[in-house]
């Protein structure tokens, strides 16, 4: 088949990202030609600020070097501006006469800086801040001149001012409004920011309107004059008063434009042969000026160019961060508030960055806006609550204090990315320092958390530093990466976890192959991240029909034991409620002796862990244990792990309830069940809570009048105490509530989502409605759990000791020496 011709106008970040996405989907579909007005390959415009500040060099910020264009067969016309689009003959013409015909045209012309229409605006030394040429002009001016004036104290203006100051100039920022960054900050935060920038040596003139730029003897600009008659010296004037979508070319070709080039949700313009992405576009009336939403557009646009025809761009929520080293400012959403909203405020005029200020704007029970100054480690969390529209009424009293709690382990109390030194360690699991991450982001052109994980391994293990890594990413890239509203489950599909689950339920899909066929999986047999999830969704939705696919399970669940770092396995027999008998202890001792188990440990969940068992020996070890009445402890699974108990009223002088028996009952009811992530319970016999029930997924605490039920806690990396669900009186009620809560979690949480983040996502009020208020719903969820347990409450060890899955435990062949 003859290739189609694709022409792209504008060789910038949004356009090139679209090409990259397109090449991934349909590498051979198009002959591609690119026109770019700038004489450079595509570079990372965001990083012009660090270049200006002297933190990076120009060659460092190239995203697609010339070899990339060549290797992908892209004809690049760098330095050529397209001046005409002939839509009838379907070709474009550049200023120097170069022509190119197209079957599809992609407009990615970005935006133009707005230049104040004042006398003197064309004098030498008066520039905007948009591209490499501007940046070079500033660096050069700093070498030869002293006074710089930046007009406009928005993000761009402040970054320019910061860079010029670092290059030794005397910098004054002139601003029309009464406070700086008025489009992103309220006055309080802006004043704090201004103070700390002043401490760095910048000067500010607020409420000033520029009247004229005055030339000097050399012909270069020499001063700036204001409406009030005042004037100050300026040999460099940088205008940073805003940008306008660059639509001149599109307009002249008769393509419908409003603020920007008008596109639909597939990024198509009114001419079906012509698509547009980036800052030049108006989507649903909005023209975006940050990279994150533009990349979302790029992805969707590429999909349609590749004629896959799936994916819609429905708009983005954006947030901003200022990239000035050592200062933490964040803002998102409706940060000014107003009628119908409430503000939550936290403010401390003293603080390491000249103060601390947090303002959260609530509307009803939702978070709609935020401004943070001096501490922004929770910005991602706030941003997520806003995007997902989480009901925060249960969190409200502690919302201001953020997600990070005392007691989190793993980052040595470090929580402020901006204040960290390059040599400070961020990821303690994989030993990655801040400098490594910044370097990877800037030199390898990374834009997402996943990219950073893949390249640096930071946040790729325990994940406790995810927040920090996101902060570093945001701080290095300025705009925070706003994840698409619907996050695909993995690269094999565009469907989200929730969509896949709904399809499995509604279309009655009962096998992985069915799901992949119905939902048009892109990769025939999926990948290691979707297959285990699909398998879980299937067996939890259709326990009687779906067949458990062991090849789609992680090794621990496939082998029913925990793989250790030397490739041996550990074995944990179940001790219901943490109670043991003499016979059980003896059986464990015997097995350890017989199979020469090198080490044993008592676990935090009141079990005994036998380490160092060779895989081939597992069935024999299990056979021995099952003969003596012990069953699998599922310590290896995303499953009910343990129910921990204290001794309770039988022996303890404080005990008011029989916690041990309650624990045994709960464990007998739930053992063998698979869950989205590991699931732990505990029962304490009185509020002294010796079983630590308030850091478990489901905690039960005995009280005089019955039982208190708690949900959504966990220990580990990110400690979270439970939320109180309700109080009940009888044993039967405890079992029903526990069962219903677990079943709703099993049915609705995403795979690998523990109860804590699940509850934070859906909100505690939702859980209460489902489990406490809706009695009929609770009873039926409980019933569904028991039905599923009819199938799954069995001992996998006993089966394997009898020879099931023999191939898993025996070598294919032994070749003798």
């Amino acid at each position: 088949m003859k290739k189609l011709k694709l022409v792209m106008i504008g060789n910038g970040m949004a356009g090139c990202r679209t090409l990259e996405e397109l090449l991934k989907l349909a590498p051979d579909m198009y002959d591609i030609t690119v026109f770019g007005a700038e004489p450079h390959p595509n570079y990372n415009r965001i990083l012009l600020s660090p270049v200006l500040a002297g933190e990076m060099m120009l060659p460092d910020i190239v995203l697609n070097d010339l070899a990339w264009y060549e290797n992908n067969g892209i004809a690049l016309h760098a330095g050529k501006t397209v001046t005409k689009i002939d839509r009838v003959k379907r070709k474009v013409i550049a200023a120097d006469g170069t022509e190119a015909g197209y079957d599809r045209l992609l407009l990615a012309t970005g935006s133009l800086p707005f230049i104040l229409p004042v006398p003197g605006k064309d004098l030498p030394g008066v520039i905007a801040y948009r591209d490499i040429a501007d940046t070079e002009a500033m660096i050069d001016a700093a070498k030869h001149h002293k006074h710089a004036v930046v007009i406009g104290a928005g993000l761009l203006g402040l970054e320019a001012a910061n860079g010029l100051k670092l290059r030794g100039m005397d910098v004054t920022v002139v601003h029309l409004a009464d406070w700086i960054m008025e489009r992103q900050l309220d006055k309080t935060a802006a004043d704090l920011l201004q103070k700390s920038l002043e401490a760095k040596g910048m000067k500010f003139l607020l409420g000033k309107q520029t009247a004229e730029l005055v030339g000097g003897e050399s012909g270069r600009v020499a001063a700036i004059k204001f409406k009030d008659g005042a004037s100050i010296p300026a040999e460099l004037v940088v205008m940073a008063v805003g940008i306008r979508p660059n639509i001149k070319l599109a307009e002249s070709a008769g393509i419908h434009c409003e603020r920007g080039i008008v596109v639909d949700d597939t990024l198509q313009t009114f001419d079906p042969k012509i698509y547009a992405v980036g800052e030049c576009v108006a989507h649903r009336g909005i023209a975006y000026g940050l990279v994150a939403p533009l990349f979302e557009q790029a992805k969707v646009c590429a999909n349609h160019l590749a004629e896959h025809g799936i994916g819609r761009y429905t708009g983005s929520v954006t947030s901003t961060k200022l990239k000035v080293t050592g200062i933490d400012v964040f803002s998102a959403g409706d940060f000014m508030g107003g009628e119908g909203t409430e503000d939550l405020l936290l403010s401390d005029p003293k603080g390491p960055q000249g103060g601390l200020y947090k303002k959260l704007v609530l509307k009803g029970n939702k978070l709609v806006g935020a401004v943070l100054y001096g501490e922004s480690e929770d910005s991602n969390w706030y941003f997520k609550l806003m995007r997902e529209g989480t009901d925060i009424s249960a969190l409200r009293h502690r919302l201001l204090f953020g997600e990070t709690h005392l007691g989190d382990s793993g980052h040595g109390g470090q929580s402020r990315a901006a204040a960290m030194k390059d040599s400070d360690q961020v990821c303690d699991c994989n030993g990655v320092c801040k400098g490594d991450i910044v370097k990877a982001i800037t030199t390898k052109g990374l834009f997402t958390l996943d990219d950073v994980k893949a390249h640096t391994k930071a946040a790729a293990s325990c994940g406790s530093c995810t927040g920090l890594v996101e902060q570093i990413l945001a701080h290095t890239l300025g705009g925070e990466y706003s994840a698409p509203e619907i996050k695909p489950m993995c690269k094999c599909t565009d469907a989200s976890h929730d969509q896949v689950r709904a399809a499995i339920r509604e279309q009655h899909l009962t096998s992985i192959a069915d799901v992949m066929a119905k939902l048009e999986w892109k990769r025939a047999d999926g990948c290691p991240s979707c297959r285990p999830a699909l398998n879980y969704y299937l067996i939890s939705t259709w326990p009687n029909e779906a067949k458990d696919d062991y090849q789609s399970r992680y090794i621990n669940e496939r082998a029913h034991a925990n793989i250790q770092k030397d490739g041996s396995y550990s074995v944990v027999p179940r001790l219901f409620g943490g109670s043991v008998t003499v016979d059980q202890l003896r059986a464990i001792a015997d097995v350890a002796e017989k199979f020469e188990v090198p080490e044993m440990k008592i676990t935090g969940g009141q079990r005994i862990d036998l380490f160092g068992v060779k895989k081939e020996k597992l069935p024999e070890v299990w056979g021995f244990l099952t003969e003596r009445g012990l069953v699998s402890g599922h310590a290896y699974g995303k499953a009910l792990r343990t129910v921990k108990t204290c001794v309770g009223s039988d022996w303890c002088r404080f005990g008011v309830q029989d916690s041990t028996q309650m624990g045994i009952d709960l464990e007998e009811m739930t053992w063998g069940s698979w869950t989205p992530h590991k699931y732990k319970m505990a029962v304490s016999g009185c509020p002294r809570n010796c079983a630590e029930a308030t850091i478990k997924d489901f905690g039960v605490v005995g009280i005089d009048s019955g039982w208190e039920l708690h949900v959504g806690g966990n220990g580990g990396v990110k400690v979270r105490a439970t939320d109180l669900l309700c109080r009940v009186t009888t044993r039967e009620e405890v079992l029903e509530y526990a069962g219903a809560f677990m079943q709703i979690y099993r049915e609705e949480a995403r795979y690998l989502e523990r109860t804590a983040p699940w509850i934070e996502r859906v909100g505690l009020p939702y859980i209460k409605t489902r489990v406490v208020e809706d009695a009929a719903g609770r009873a039926s969820a409980y019933k569904r759990l028991l039905e599923s347990q009819e199938v799954y409450r069995f001992d996998p060890w006993a089966e394997r000791a009898q020879g099931v899955d023999k191939h898993e435990f025996t070598p294919l062949k032994v070749i003798a020496a």
Partner: protein
């Protein structure tokens, strides 16, 4: 000298290790050899591959990983390894030695002389 040649010819022999059906689809089995364990994989398309059962990262047993397409994900830290070549999938770097395998009829034959390109024998 003489010895080396003899040894080489011995190693180049094809050794029958079992039937294709003995290996689960999208799974692997281990062949124990005097030179260490070799993982023999079978994917959805019934292609068979053999790699040293040792991840180039920290030696994890690749035979225990999840197989998909022509790749396996290491069970210890989730590196992805290409089954044909044993090369780690970028951005990770490293390789596990790969071994020639042949399927004749339903039988799988393995050679113990690793392919050349990887030094991690």
């Amino acid at each position: 000298m003489m010895n080396a040649i003899v040894e080489k010819t011995v190693q180049e022999q094809w050794i029958e290790v079992g039937g294709v059906a003995d290996i689960p689809r999208d799974g692997a089995r281990v062949v124990k050899t005097p030179l260490g364990d070799i993982a023999v994989f079978r994917n959805m398309a019934d292609e068979v591959f053999a790699l040293r059962d040792k991840c180039p990262h920290k030696g994890g047993p690749l035979s225990q990983g999840i197989v998909y397409g022509r790749r396996v994900a290491c069970p210890l830290h989730n590196w992805h390894i290409a089954l044909e070549s044993g090369m780690a999938v970028a951005p990770d770097e490293g390789c596990a030695a790969s071994f020639p395998v042949r399927v004749e009829g339903e039988r799988v034959y393995l050679s113990l002389t690793p392919n050349e390109h990887c030094s991690n024998h």
